[in-house]
């Protein structure tokens, strides 16, 4: 039988992470936190751009 997904536990874990990251942002330089954020953002844009030229208006 499939295990039931625990939404409440998942939510608590997410909030814990948000709190941990917010604390990191508060206690570290902008360069430190934003260089980590940059990896996430730039990779999303890079992945999205791989096929978009086929669909984007010319």
């Amino acid at each position: 039988m499939a295990e039931k997904f625990d939404f409440s536990r998942n939510r608590k874990e997410r909030i814990k992470f948000i709190s941990m990251w917010a604390e990191y942002v508060k206690t570290h330089s902008d360069v430190e936190w934003s260089s980590q954020q940059k990896v996430l953002i730039d990779s999303q844009i890079k992945n999205a751009g791989q096929n978009s030229s086929k669909y984007a208006p010319k």
Binding site: A22, D30, S34, Q37, D42, A48, S53
Partner: protein, 195 residues
Amino acid sequence: MEFIDEKTLKIDRIETELDRFVVDFARILEKHAKYVIVSGYVAILLGRSRATEDIDILIKKMSSERFIILFSELMENGFCCLNADFGASAAKYLSDGISVRFAKKGKIIPNVELKFIRTAFDEITLKNRIRALMPFGTIFISELEMQIAFKRRVLKSEKDIEDAMHIEMVFNGRIDKNKVGAYKKMLGGCYGRKI
């Protein structure tokens, strides 16, 4: 990040491709209209650990003729409109309350979702905008209290609530909770209705 005055937030962040896209767009937009960036990108700018595909920008209503000039300048500078081929049709969309999306030519993501202000709350959002000063450019974003109120009172999705929480935690002690409460109240009343 630190407020260097009431209306200016200095962020020494490393530039992302998303930031570059937004700053490029804003540099053209500001020559034509007063604008304010709202919602997800603001949370990201303030450190939230997520990405986004669109950047919501509100501008003051303008005539079709003026908008066509802005549209042309965007086209000349490597942008394309994703849901209208001509400036006149994009202007019509905006005046009908439909947003118009712009991306870099040949791309779909990221894109700017441009809207005319439609409610009294939008008007206040534009009026109370703050400046985000970064090493690679300056843009105008909505006031933090406004951002929190809108995400908690109107948008309410899990992602939006988490954005609001992030801003509250990072700016703990600086957020005016009474102001957030007042904005939430406004959003529930006539200020949230279309003008």
